[in-house]
């Protein structure tokens, strides 16, 4: 399968490339031009091809998809900080939300235009509303959690209602 990966050099992007390659997939990692040299080097070392493009820029996503013609898109984009402290999380929150929301919208739009049928999106299994026992995928999301947390489950709810939809 030809797989376009957004978030290719992140914490999950790198192990993901290794496993995709092991399964015989061709991997194309989206790389922002501002950090392209370093990222391109990382991807090339792992046997993936670097594609210049920014998920926040719909035109560049369109160009990348047109060139690669992927069978599937995996979106692992986040803008989480280096250090997991309340201060750094707060500082990164706005860009993290923007990258996830706009990246998702741009990638899905281009996929619709070009007929790419498979999309895998990063979300979290810890945004379920408080309740007894463990949550399954149909459990309510914590849309009324604390102010810094609540936007994430709200976004999850929206992205689940994107054009592809899904069967329960």
């Amino acid at each position: 399968m030809r797989v376009l990966l957004a978030g290719a050099t992140g914490a999950i992007g790198r192990p993901l490339i290794r496993i995709l390659k092991k399964h015989g997939h061709s991997v194309f990692g989206l790389v922002r031009s501002a950090k392209s040299a370093e990222s391109t080097h990382i991807l090339t070392e792992m046997g993936a091809e670097a594609l210049i493009g920014d998920a926040l820029d719909a035109a560049s996503v369109r160009a990348a998809v047109a060139r690669v013609r992927p069978d599937a898109v995996i979106n692992e984009l986040t803008a989480l900080p280096q250090h997991y402290t309340p201060a750094e999380m707060k500082a990164a929150a706005e860009r993290d939300t923007r990258v996830r929301r706009e990246g998702n919208v741009n990638l899905l739009a281009v996929m619709r235009e070009t007929g790419v049928r498979r999309y895998v999106l990063q979300s979290s299994g810890f945004w379920y509303a408080p309740g007894p026992g463990l949550a399954d995928e149909s459990s309510l999301l914590a849309v009324d959690a604390s102010p810094g947390v609540a936007p994430a489950p709200a976004r999850t709810l929206n992205s689940s209602q994107q054009p592809f939809g899904y069967r329960k």
Binding site: V3, I19, Y84, F126, L134, E137, S146, G165
Partner: protein, 139 residues
Amino acid sequence: MRYGFFYGPGTWFTNAGDMGDQVRRQQVPVIGAGQGVASFVHIKDAASATVTALECAPGPYNIVDDNPSQQRVWLHAFARACGAPEPIQITEQEALVSSGADSVYYATRLRGAANEKARHELNFRPRPLEWLQSRAVPV
């Protein structure tokens, strides 16, 4: 992919990573009763499940391990595995001032997730949460 908190190479939650450093400096407290339940997943297990998801039925999947645990439990175990002193414990009121509402939420209100769907549909078999299983240092 509704992933649990990532741990393992390149994440916050490793001995050499950011959380390892923070627990060794006793900067991560148990808040209140630490009853919030966190679900973790090893980064490589999360990546494997994601590759399988290229060819599965569409829909959301909880990609979490089999060891959801309360904050006071996993934090003590993680600190031990990192060679850190016991975490301190503070009240919710103190944490609201020092760390903010989100930290209190994560430590006291979080709900763990079940992975039956991923086990069944993706043949997902996550490794046990490393630092709960032994005194070994998580890689």
